[in-house]
Amino acid sequence: MHEMGICQSILDASFEAAEAEGATRIKEIRISVGELTEVVDFALQFAFESLSPGTLAEGGKLVVNRIPAKSRCPSCGTEFEHDRFETTCPECGNPFNENIAGRELLIDSVDVEKDD
């Protein structure tokens, strides 16, 4: 679904960075994806395989770092990792917590090769 568009955005950002460095090949693109997003690894990899041939990223790898969901309890200050269906504070039982991780959609770095 929307993984195609997301993958194209990843590639566009990677090409821009690689070209700015005069790179000739992208070996690896590292991204972080939060567990609370609706972005599926399989669909992203499929999109990468469809979109990368014929570009600087041909033959390269897309490495996805999954980030667990985490919240902070405003009443007792506890920070805790949680499953998406159980977000209650494990220390004091407060159900209304601030999400602090798990929604990431970040491009972290690009590993490139240059011709000498």
Partner: protein, 223 residues
């Protein structure tokens, strides 16, 4: 050689959403992004919302669909400005489409801009448009188990409308289970059971919305 980027993948959409947000703030427009499956009753809910609030606020609507002008024509027939966006296959709206659509509207006359997103429970969730609030509609015939299958949209919505409530007994919709799982995913979100086409329950929803609009105005005046 490793190049450090550390930036949002949807950077361009985020930047354009902020630009839209600035324009809306400057013009004092409250923007609602309404999301739901195809046929859940987005257009019907918008029409009911217009009827309830048109005496209090200047309203306009942006209709997002893959194709056709049907929905925008329904809104225009109600005497409300409507812009149709056809995404040509894309399963959600993005900020640049909104930016183009608002150039066709007189924002000075508008207090409430309602965006009907493309019918989809997944894709619209990752894309900010510059809205004040995202709200979703689930319709009773879709079933009470949808929050288990599509959790993200329930998590990010500020309110959940449960439409076609007139059919609740026909579809054996387990409302207690629905309320319990939505409460786990998003304990702050109010749930509004409504029948958009019959009018039942609509006023609880529109009063909540009016409260949000007035609160946004009050905080803008403080600045």
């Amino acid at each position: 050689m490793e190049i450090d980027l550390s930036k949002p993948i949807l950077d361009r959409n985020e930047r354009l959403a902020e630009e839209n947000r600035r324009v809306f703030d400057e013009k004092g427009v409250f923007v609602l992004d309404l999301m739901a499956s195809p046929g859940a009753g987005k257009t019907s809910t918008i029409l009911a919302t217009i009827d309830a609030l048109r005496d209090r606020y200047g309203i306009a609507v942006i209709e997002g669909d893959i194709a056709s002008k049907v929905d925008a024509e329904k809104i225009s027939a109600h005497g409300i400005p409507a812009v149709q966006i056809n995404t040509g296959g894309a399963c959600h709206l993005e900020s640049d489409m909104i930016q183009r659509a608002i150039s066709a509207l007189d924002l000075d006359e508008i207090d409430l801009l309602i965006i009907e997103n493309v019918g989809n429970l997944v894709c619209p969730t990752e894309f900010n448009l510059g809205e004040n609030a995202k709200v979703m509609i689930l319709s009773v015939p879709e079933g009470h188990d949808k929050p288990y299958k599509y959790p993200n949209i329930f998590e990010i919505s500020e309110a959940v409308i449960l439409n076609k409530y007139d059919t609740v007994s026909v579809f054996d919709f387990d409302e207690d289970d629905f309320r319990s799982v939505v409460g786990k995913l998003n304990p702050r979100a109010p749930i509004f059971p409504i029948s958009a086409t019959k009018g039942d329950g609509v006023s609880a929803w529109t009063e909540w919305l009016a409260g949000r609009i007035d609160a946004a105005r009050a905080s803008a005046e403080e600045v």
